[in-house]
Amino acid sequence: MSTGISRRVYQRLIPLFIVSVFAGISLIVYFVTPSAASKAVSGEILQWGVVLSTVTMIYASITIMVMHTRRLAERKETTRMLFNSSVMVGSFVMVMAIGLFAPGGLTSELLEAVTTYIFGYIYAGILTDWAYHPYTSYRRFRLISAESTVMFITFLFTVLRNMTAVVVAVPGIAVIGDWIAAVPAMATMRAALAAAGIGQLVLGIRALAQREPGLIELEMK
């Protein structure tokens, strides 16, 4: 029993307390008049966040490669999966080699060219899948309710507003398009940002009060 309680303390309560402490310190720093001390504390906490994020990124990058390397070593998956993993590991090794051994390392012209032309172009090609957006617009914009009709009207005028040739031909389109941006969209945007901000605020206060279950897994080991 006592072991269970102590586990609960160091596996759950202390992490939740840490959340509360760091959130609380950051909040106090926000409200108090800036001083050398508050600036130092704030700067240090932010740098801690940067370091934590960096280490976690290294962890995740290693994890993904460990998974694929293990898959290759075990050879239990299908040929296609092994092919995928071997391409991935091969590409990883090649880029690591360029970054580590090419003259200039991370700032080498070779790595810049590979980033821009190989990875940039591949992703640009894959992004063409966004061609689905026009298809989705075609498929889903059926004027069968007040909501879809209103949504379509603002969609239509905004698209027309962003077609420069149309605006030059019919200047009134710009007036309507800009009005949609400045009135219904602006009103909703303000309310929306506030509503979402309030949601964040309540969640943050729950975190401060250590009543936020989404922050941590609950398993006790």
Binding site: V50, T54, A124, Y138, A181, L193
Partner: protein, 266 residues
């Protein structure tokens, strides 16, 4: 549908139509703020290129902006938030022509690129609080203390102008909260207007609304790039999609009209 749109793109990109372009107020504001820069002033350029291909598609507009800054003889410090960004910015310095005549900018004296920093909003907050407390070197490994340009700027308030640039829709609120809202500064942006509209006039005082804004800016400055060709294709492809949506709805109502008499006969 995808094939139709691709065919239009390929056809028009090699044969631009040259459809007309009008300059919006946000683009004019952006330009007006840039030409207020004075010699020796420094711009902090927050570059977020989460999409690895975003740089390649935006580099002609970035060149127009960088050259406009350079015409004012102002300096630029870049900060970025994704691992591939520093390499892209190094390539951009070469592409932009800043180091060549008539600008003859020198790295370290007029332009500097900082290493990427993970953590998004935390990273933005850290950068704004002070470059020297956040980085020990620039992207080339030169110690911060040995970089002449960084001797006169550190905190975000030391910069004469802050320019934020981000992918498409992400990061607006992060930038707004950590830079203008926190430090009471105003920024200009290169992003879709819809995400900065709520802050326009208070935190944001000029915006290039992506391709349209970029094309307008290129037209305004005369530093022509590809965005004007983009606008040609956008005009045509948007028209095709709107026509297809109209067709879809007409077909839907037609099928309903046909169905009603048939059911009435039953």
């Amino acid at each position: 549908m995808g094939i139709i749109l691709l065919v239009v793109i390929v056809t028009v990109m090699f044969n631009p139509v040259g459809l007309p372009i009008s300059v919006s107020q946000q683009t004019q504001d952006f330009y007006n703020r840039l030409i207020k820069l004075k010699e020796g002033e420094t711009v902090l350029w927050g570059f977020e290129g989460a999409v690895i291909g975003a740089y390649t598609e935006k580099k002609t507009a970035m060149r127009a902006v960088a050259q406009t800054i350079a015409k004012q003889k102002a300096n630029i410090v870049w900060v970025s938030f994704y691992p591939h960004n520093p390499g892209q910015l190094l390539a951009f310095i070469e592409y932009s022509g800043l180091t060549k005549p008539p600008f003859n900018y020198k790295y370290g004296e007029n332009i500097v690129i900082m290493p990427f920093l993970p953590g998004e909003e935390t990273a933005m907050a850290a950068i704004a609080a002070g470059l020297k407390a956040t980085f020990s070197t620039d992207v080339k490994g030169i110690s911060i203390g040995d970089i002449p340009l960084l001797k006169k700027v550190d905190k975000i308030t030391d910069f004469n102008l802050v320019l934020i640039q981000f992918g498409i829709f992400t990061y607006a609120e992060m930038f707004m909260r950590q830079w203008p809202a926190k430090y009471g500064i105003q920024v200009i942006s290169m992003c879709t207007y819809s995400v900065v509209a709520a802050y326009y006039g208070t935190y944001v005082i000029g915006d290039l609304d992506l391709v349209r804004g970029n094309a307008e800016f290129e037209k305004l400055t005369g530093i022509l790039g590809e965005d004007i060709v983009y606008m040609d294709i956008r005009n045509i492809n948007c028209g095709i999609t709107l026509a297809l949506i109209a067709f879809g709805n007409i077909a839907l109502y037609w099928s309903k009209v046909k169905k009603v008499p048939a059911e009435a006969k039953k």
